[in-house]
Symmetry: C2
Subunit: 282 residues, 2 copies
Amino acid sequence: MRGGGIRIGIVAPASRLEPAIAEKAIALARMLYPDRAPVLQFHPQCFLSSGHFAGDDETRARAFLDVANDPTIDALWFARGGYGSGRLTERVLAGLTPAAERKTYLGYSDAGALLAALYTRGFTGLAHGPVPADLRREGGEAAVTRALAYLADRSAIALEPTVSASGLTAAFNITVLSHLIGTPWQPDLSGHVLMLEEVSEQMYRIDRALWHITANPAMRRVAGIRLGRCSAIPPNEPDFGQSAEHVVRHWCEVSGIPYLGAADIGHDSDNKVVPFGRLRLA
Amino acid sequence: MRGGGIRIGIVAPASRLEPAIAEKAIALARMLYPDRAPVLQFHPQCFLSSGHFAGDDETRARAFLDVANDPTIDALWFARGGYGSGRLTERVLAGLTPAAERKTYLGYSDAGALLAALYTRGFTGLAHGPVPADLRREGGEAAVTRALAYLADRSAIALEPTVSASGLTAAFNITVLSHLIGTPWQPDLSGHVLMLEEVSEQMYRIDRALWHITANPAMRRVAGIRLGRCSAIPPNEPDFGQSAEHVVRHWCEVSGIPYLGAADIGHDSDNKVVPFGRLRLA
């Protein structure tokens, strides 16, 4: 990689990022890597606002492609989740150039829709993992430090502990994956260990989405499911009476998918990196 | 049909029904049809409670099959929506006998998951329409009167006004249909006018579900979409800035599906009957 640190381009295909968070991320990167600080290049689109989104669909897709297709940028980092990445799949896939394939992509939650779409194109540098907006969380520096360790050095310490070079993995937010089922952007996860997590969804919704995901014939070809953390679950009326683990175990049993235990991912500062496909160390 | 009125069996594949509502429905039927009152046979399962559901999956599926397979019952009426019908699809489809095919089925919202599953089996007596639990609504008697007019007489007054014998139709709750996409129970709606409605979902969720539905290649073969009422939409933070009609028009345009205008359906007392497939007058 050229000169000092790697160059990371940041875009926001969903909700907007506060400029103060970008500044915090840049300062953290400089502190962590004094000699070879990663260059965090926040695309101005990150800070736009258009209703629910960080700019309209066309603007967000163009910004994504600006970064993805730039051969001088090593990695595309999703600024944050929210909602809106899925709206860009057709535009983004139509505009990719070969430079985009050689890049690392890191994000989670809503970003899963674009990661999935890129995975259907055979991209090998995709990963689930923390984003700059995690700096808003208590202890968020640890999450962003982990993301930078992955982006800069592929540091093993950043990885979800069951990830290894010998297996295929992928990680998704449950609701986001549910909305990809049956679309052209549903990734082929045959033989993958699928890690799932959720936040702020009632238990009946988690149950319904897992019913949906595990009912899809292609999804039944995963090697197994690991359950990450399902946090901030709003109360159910009446109480659902089952934990997320109970629910995922149930649908694994119904669908014949092996349940493999817990995954160390979630909407929190402990969220780890999970590569899509096989772990690539270079 | 034998003797006085038709026999309607009521089951609750999702949430439980209060017994008082069943009594109100029976009294209304007797008042409306003094000489040939439809016999409303509420299966005892309607009043069970198991966490979120009106009994566990096995109990609810068995009750559904009790009614569906009973040759002395003319129609199966869903007691209400809620959540849980989709959990029963495999069990129900595995247990149907020929008597089930000759029946009318009426329900909406969560019931759409079972209506869809039965439609994949070629059932011709399925319809979206009001349920006994609509009696809890203000003006709910009008909704239940409409449902009974459809069940007892196929009265045209009960129908959604654009329904005719010359076209194919279907109606779904948006979120329920989204969760059927890519499953074995996704109905083939080629050439159908698809009517959609929603309740109590934030606008970004409606947008995401419509993106999902219209991205599915098979769904793009519908004749067009009509939008019913989307009610009780919780506020969005930040405001989504678009109405449900704007959102559905957008996804129709993106997907090439004709947008055909409004549909007179929704989670309210004005909800009309929409047959699945071709209107059957006998």
